[in-house]
């Protein structure tokens, strides 16, 4: 099934609604139910002409400072969220590659994907880009599903990040159970323990390196056969660095911060903007918010 994950590849793809629907059902780690992609629900904020980012300064620095402030509090008082302004996303996939590099992901695993959609007919066209990753849901259905197969294989950190316990969560069965429960596509991935330079004249040193996730150091051998997913770059945020996808975002569409802090950029963005979260009907309470001027019309291109 992992072959089918690469639907975001290959340039522009125009999709009829039906085609998209077909595709997404085929996509996710085996078994995302068709009902998973119900329309997003408009939920917070009102559209303001003047945005937070209109103030002078550098959003990246603002978020960096927000992060340092949050780290001064105990972990349980932090509520991490991503706010993705899809008007600013240029579909460059820098986030996807940065994530592979940061987390030393093996072939077939990509925590971040960016779907690309062309809508309309020549010459009246729209083209937009939709980054997705694990939504770190407050009521993450994957946790319960996984733990039903292997107890203790998934949990939630006090700051809301959904944790996979690599030493326990091994095998396809638990992966499939968690994937099936997840209301979103492109979230969970099965790690087959491959290397990008397998079969070439020489395995390259970067593939052998250690990497840190969930506060622990790992190598590829440890994670072979496990389920993998985005963890908001725990190693970075715990050390005071913003997630890799956020810092590298060329259009600065990515925002990250603490929703428990009213002064954080993410809090301000959500107060002042129209934002949507996907598939609230699932009750999962995802922690990724999407900004757009016309979320109804835009999101409906695929999610209807």
């Amino acid at each position: 099934m992992s072959e089918k994950r690469d639907t975001a590849t290959g340039g522009v793809k125009r999709l009829s609604r039906r085609a998209f629907f077909k595709r997404t059902t085929g996509v996710a780690a085996g078994a995302v139910a068709a009902t998973a992609f119900l329309p997003g629900v408009k939920e917070v904020g009102t559209l303001l002409a003047k945005t937070v980012t209109g103030t002078p300064g550098n959003d990246m620095l603002t978020m960096h400072n927000d992060l340092q402030r949050a780290l001064e509090k105990p972990m349980k008082q932090r509520k991490w969220a991503m706010v993705i302004d899809i008007r600013k996303c240029i579909g460059c996939n820098a986030c996807a590659v940065a994530c592979i590099a940061e987390n030393n992901l093996p072939p077939g695993v990509r925590y971040r994907t960016v779907a690309e959609v062309e809508d309309g007919s020549y010459p009246e066209l729209r083209r937009f880009f939709m980054p997705t990753n694990c939504m770190q849901c407050k009521n993450a259905p994957c946790i319960e599903a996984a733990n039903r197969v292997i107890p203790g294989s998934m949990s939630r950190r006090p700051d809301g990040i959904v944790v996979i316990h690599y030493k326990k969560m091994k095998g396809k069965k638990v992966f499939e159970a968690a994937s099936k429960a997840c209301p979103y596509p492109y979230s969970l991935w099965y790690d087959e323990g491959k290397n990008y330079t397998d079969g070439t004249p020489a395995l390259q040193p970067y593939e052998k390196r250690s990497f840190r996730e969930y506060g622990i150091g790992w190598t590829r051998k440890d994670t072979k056969g496990t389920t993998r997913k985005c963890h908001f770059c725990t190693q970075r945020i715990d050390a005071g660095e913003l997630p890799a996808c956020v810092t590298t975002c060329t259009g600065q569409a990515m925002h990250f911060g603490d929703l428990n802090d009213n002064d954080s950029l993410v809090s301000k963005l959500l107060k002042r903007h129209k934002a949507v979260r996907l598939n609230l009907a699932s009750g999962a309470e995802p922690m990724i918010y999407y900004l757009h001027d016309e979320p109804e019309q835009t999101c409906m291109v695929c999610h209807s």
């Binding site: 590849t9 600013k88 052998k208 250690s210 840190r212």
Partner: protein, 1082 residues
């Protein structure tokens, strides 16, 4: 359908067996570095398993001592990078927040280093994947010598010393190759013919005199005189009867792909200043040559009686502040010099409604997806489009009169402008500017140059309120303004202003007629012209490759820049700005190392180059009427597509030895297969030496390949780009241990690299300017750092006294060394480095290197609404010099102003292949995940985009019966077979996979550059008798440059712009031929 695609791609990437790994490991020759890294990894791995990782190993990548700053080179943009190193291995790259390319606004330069450890800027996907360019299993480690025929890809590893010795001395070097048993190869020493700088100088000035002779008889007499005078030196010349071809030294050429400062000076020192060849050529014309060379034409200044000295440069929009951006053939957020900074600036302003974007492009590019208006123009008609806007703006008086009327510097200053045009200067019917003496308005005056030579000043003339006024363009005291549109006579001489001539060109057709040529609606042009003239100076029409890479590229660009001049947006915040770079060459006051003087025996090359650049055909002794055998380029240089084909034709003379660096002419040029044909012929180029990091698409045809250092292992000074408002000079410096093996040159252990190759040859050949005291008494040039560190010291000194950077403090000095603890002594030796620049400069050098270069603070780029790093001089809208010059093929004069020319070959014959059934117009574009020829080696990028596609509009698809996933072959008039003939028995079909989209103008098809490789690790090679299996993941997709139209007259090169020199990328008509299912594209 889609599943089929991905399924197929996946099956191609199935990793090969362990056996092939073992078989091919000889290729790399067992790099010590890699082995130690492996050991480390295993060690760490076992400790991780045991759960005994120490706290110190917790997120190592956030620690200052594991971070080095340098510059990306995954494309030519030059984003600053922070390279994070874990136990000696680079594992993650971030943007450098000091760099304006990756952080907007960038951190103030004086921000303490320790405060920036955890702050990261942004990079594009290629930048993020950069470590895979360095850690590439197909990297070369040892020197390779050809063991089979050219291009056959059979090699043997030889010692560096042997290679250098053979190249210098020549001999029967390939007696082991069938057919070459008795071929004697002449070595470099035979072409190091003219060695005396004094004789070279005398010959050069005598040749200048020959050039000035008007008639063939006079020229002949002058040549005879020359032969008498230099009787003792005639054996050093290529042809004593044509001394203007220059010395035999010119039969050795050095050409390059992507070359940046530092290495540029190193190569020039070798091939030009020391060896004495004029043939050092770059690749500008395959990128956006005509953009650069229009910039050059427009920036000629009036000096000592001549309009001269134009810079090879161009302007771009200030994307931070522009209010209306009209992107013409310019893919801002996919290529176009800097998706990271352009995207950040434009997307922020877009959501804040501070910028409106309109896009003129046959493809619905990503920037078009962010625009309020997309105008899908026909390729190659951008000049017509700009002229239509010019016409509307002039007729509706929407131009900036207060800017355009300024005839000289004083007038510009008085009007609060920083630059001015020659649009009001009066021009006579013969195309020359009217001079004041001609109408007795002002007498000629004698003036003196800086070095005391006398010259005659004859004032230019404008018409003001019907009266002629004389002026000096450079006058700072007496402002002179002129009427814009004049068509009259003065003193019996018919005159017009340059602007009048521009208007006549623009009004030669109605807006409807222009719109018709462009295949768009007249109303769209008018609407855009209205919008363009509704933002004061904060609007820009920004041209890029889509405008310049046509046979009419030069005039397209001139038309677009002329359009900008109408609103006077040059040097304004939000207008057109230029690049500003800190100097490294020692030419500024206070620079410690003046490189112009650091050569004990510099020779000045002379003669006509193999590409006939910056020289007039008519002045040469080989002038033989029109048409000339090939085009001449009096105003342009670095004509990439003419280098190898001219060697093939031995015009103007034969070439004997070719060096190439980072070049992939065979792959990246339109019609690159013509280069393959010539390179594979040992009689046309008897010796070919390449410097490359892998066996590339061009270096595979070499006789010797020297491994080079990747961008993470080497030095360079990346310079800046017009879209970066701050003055900048990013410095590339070694951040990881070198991959190639180490050798001894001048007694010094150093990794093989471009520089080591040059040093080795210089040592063997005894070239001056290298080795002991190579830079002058007491200054050796025995390692590359001897050269580059001194440049860093110049950079640290700044461009004027008082501009020095601060000293690095104790913490910074420690970090500098700590962060380089993984570098071997062959590249980093702190005591030696210190000695090179001296104690006085060392701490400043560290300050610069710790920040990855030198960057001005954002706010310093502006002074209120004015752009401070200004162009600040004359902008030529009327090109007198060009109007006087003739095409060497047609013998006709060039146009002096913006004009629209139909797509044609060098003889002026229009290209109309669509009439012969070639029913689709081919364009290319950049996907952000690939550059043209190298990034296919990055597996993380292939994970995102495993292949490219043939993009076809749905209207064409249903007309032609094409659908998603179909395999089609590109066929054109120049390539009826639709293949790349690799001249090694392989014909690689140009077959790609169709993707049907809406976002491309019907009738146009496109493919993105960067796929369809046949070298660079994508196919099998044999080294020392062992087969190294190619990786099919590197061969995916299609590269259809071989379908691109060849010039009917020149035959062995692509269509080209005879004025600006650009190759034509977007003027080919093709047919797509459906392949049977199952036939692969590679």
């Amino acid at each position: 359908m889609n599943n089929e695609i991905t399924g197929r791609t996946r099956s191609k990437s199935t990793p090969r067996t362990r056996r092939s790994f073992l078989k091919s490991s000889a290729f790399l020759g067992g790099s010590a570095v890699l082995l130690s890294q492996l050991e480390w990894a295993q060690n760490l791995f076992s400790r991780a398993e045991a759960g005994v990782l120490s706290p110190a190993e917790e997120y190592e990548l956030s620690k200052a001592e594991n971070i080095l700053r340098s510059v990306c080179l995954q494309c030519n943009t030059g984003c600053g990078i922070k390279v994070k190193v874990l136990n000696g291995v680079a594992v993650k790259i971030e943007g450098n927040p000091y760099s304006p390319w990756t952080f907007v606004p960038s951190l103030p330069y004086k921000t303490p280093l320790n405060e920036t450890t955890k702050i990261n800027g942004s990079l594009c996907p290629k930048g993020q994947a950069g470590i895979q360019t360095a850690y590439d299993p197909y990297r070369l480690v040892k020197v390779l010598k050809r063991a089979g025929k050219r291009g056959e890809n059979k090699w043997k590893t030889i010692s560096f010393e042997q290679a250098v010795s053979e190249i210098v001395n020549g001999g029967k070097l390939f007696s082991h190759v069938k057919g070459e048993e008795n071929r004697h190869v002449q070595g470099l020493k035979e072409f190091y013919a003219l060695r005396d700088p004094k004789v070279a100088k005398e010959m050069a000035s005598a040749i200048e005199e020959i050039r000035k002779k008007k008639t063939p008889e006079e020229k002949k007499a002058a040549v005879e005189e020359f032969k008498k005078k230099f009787a003792n030196h005639l054996h050093t010349l290529i042809d004593p009867d044509h001394p203007d071809l220059g010395p035999k030294n010119n039969q050795v050429s050095f050409i390059w792909g992507r070359l940046k400062a530092g290495r540029a000076e190193f190569i020039k020192r070798f091939i030009s200043d020391s060896f004495g060849s004029i043939n050092a050529h770059g690749h500008t014309t395959v990128c956006q040559g005509s953009l650069y060379f229009t910039g050059k034409a427009m920036s000629d200044q009036f000096a000592e009686g001549k309009l001269t000295g134009g810079q090879k440069f161009y302007w771009q929009a200030d994307t931070s502040n522009v209010e209306f951006l009209l992107a013409i053939g310019s893919a801002y957020i996919e290529g176009g010099y800097g998706p990271p900074h352009h995207a950040k600036k434009l997307m922020k302003n877009l959501v804040e409604k501070k910028v409106k974007i309109a896009v003129v492009d046959p493809r619905f590019s990503k920037i078009a997806s962010k625009a309020y208006k997309w105008v899908p123009i026909k390729p190659g008609t951008d000049g017509a489009f700009a002229l239509a806007m010019i016409r509307w703006i002039i007729e509706n008086k929407r131009y900036d009169d207060k800017f355009l009327q300024n005839a000289n510097r004083a007038a510009a200053n008085a009007a609060g402008e920083q630059s001015w045009t020659n649009g009001t200067w009066l021009v006579k019917e013969d195309g020359s500017f009217l001079r004041a003496s001609e109408i007795n308005l002002a007498p000629k005056e004698k003036r003196q140059t800086k070095d005391g030579k006398e010259w005659e000043f004859d004032a230019f003339v404008v018409m003001k309120d019907g009266k002629p006024v004389a002026f000096d363009p450079n006058d700072e005291k007496n402002p002179v303004v002129g009427d814009l549109f004049v068509n009259t006579s003065v003193g019996g001489i018919a005159v017009k202003t340059g602007l009048q001539i521009v208007y006549e060109s623009a009004s030669s057709k109605t807006i409807e007629q222009w719109a018709d040529i462009c295949g768009i609606r007249a109303n769209d042009i008018i609407e855009l012209a209205q919008e363009f003239t509704s933002h004061g100076k904060k609007a820009v029409a920004d041209p890029h490759r889509g405008v310049s890479q046509h046979t009419n590229g030069f005039y397209n660009v001139l038309a677009v820049y002329t359009l900008n001049a109408l609103i006077g947006n040059f040097d304004w915040k939000g207008g057109l700005i230029k690049a500003s770079t800190y100097s490294i060459d020692g030419s500024k006051e206070g620079h410690p190392f003046n490189f112009a003087r650091l050569h004990p025996k510099k020779i000045s090359p002379f003669g006509i180059s193999t590409i006939r650049h910056e020289v007039n055909y008519e002045e040469s002794t080989i002038f033989n009427g029109y048409p000339a055998k090939r085009q001449w380029f009096p105003f342009s240089s670095d004509i990439y597509q003419e280098i190898i084909p001219s060697m093939g034709d031995a015009y103007p003379y034969s070439s004997k030895i070719l060096f190439s660096y980072m070049a992939a002419a065979t792959y990246s040029l339109p019609g690159g297969q013509t280069n393959i044909e010539i390179l594979s012929d040992v009689n046309k180029i008897p010796l070919y030496v390449a410097s490359d990091i892998t066996i590339g698409e061009m270096s595979m045809y070499a006789d010797y390949i020297f491994p080079d250092l990747s961008y993470l292992e080497r030095w360079e000074f990346h310079g800046s780009h017009p879209s970066i408002p701050q003055k900048a000079q990013p410095v590339r410096n070694p951040v990881i241990a070198p991959i190639p093996e180490s050798v001894t040159v001048f007694g010094e252990q150093q990794p093989i690299s471009l520089e080591t190759m040059i040093l080795g040859i210089a040592e063997k050949l005894g070239l001056p300017g290298f080795g002991k005291n190579g830079l002058g008494e007491g200054m050796d040039l025995v390692r590359q750092e001897d050269f580059y560190l001194r440049m860093v010291a110049n950079l640290a000194a700044g461009d004027k006294p008082g501009d020095e950077v601060p000293d690095a403090d104790q913490w910074e000095l420690q970090q500098f060394e700590q962060a380089r603890r993984h570098l071997p002594k062959t590249v980093f030796d702190v005591e030696r480095w210190k000695r090179v620049v001296g104690e006085q400069w060392w701490k400043k050098v560290v300050y610069v290197l710790n920040r990855g270069g030198r960057f001005q603070d954002y706010e310093k780029a502006y002074d209120g609404e004015k752009f401070k790093n200004k162009y600040g001089q004359l902008i030529n809208l009327y090109l007198e010099k060009y109007g006087k010059a003739k095409s060497a093929i047609t013998g006709k004069n060039l146009f002096p102003v913006a004009t629209y020319l139909p797509i044609a070959d060098v003889t002026g014959k229009e290209v109309t292949d669509e009439r012969d059934g070639f029913n689709l117009h081919l364009i290319t574009f950049r996907d952000i995940t690939q550059t043209k020829s190298r990034t296919i080696t990055n597996y993380w990028l292939s994970a995102i985009r495993p292949q490219n596609f043939v993009l076809v509009n749905s209207i064409d698809a249903s007309r032609l019966g094409l659908s998603d996933g179909m395999k089609v072959k590109f066929v054109s008039r120049s390539n009826a077979e639709g293949v790349w003939d690799l001249k090694n028995g392989v014909k690689k079909p140009m077959v790609g996979e169709v993707k049907v989209i809406e976002g491309i103008r019907p009738g146009i098809i496109g493919f993105s550059l960067g796929h369809g490789h046949w070298a660079n690790g994508s196919s099998d090679v044999v080294v020392d008798g062992k087969t190294i299996t190619g990786d099919p993941r590197r061969a995916t997709g299609v590269h259809a440059n071989a379908a691109m139209r060849l010039d009917d007259y020149l035959k062995n090169t692509c269509l080209l712009d005879p004025v600006g020199g650009s190759v034509s990328f977007y003027d080919t008509k093709v047919r797509l031929v459906s392949e049977k299912k199952g036939e692969g594209g590679s």
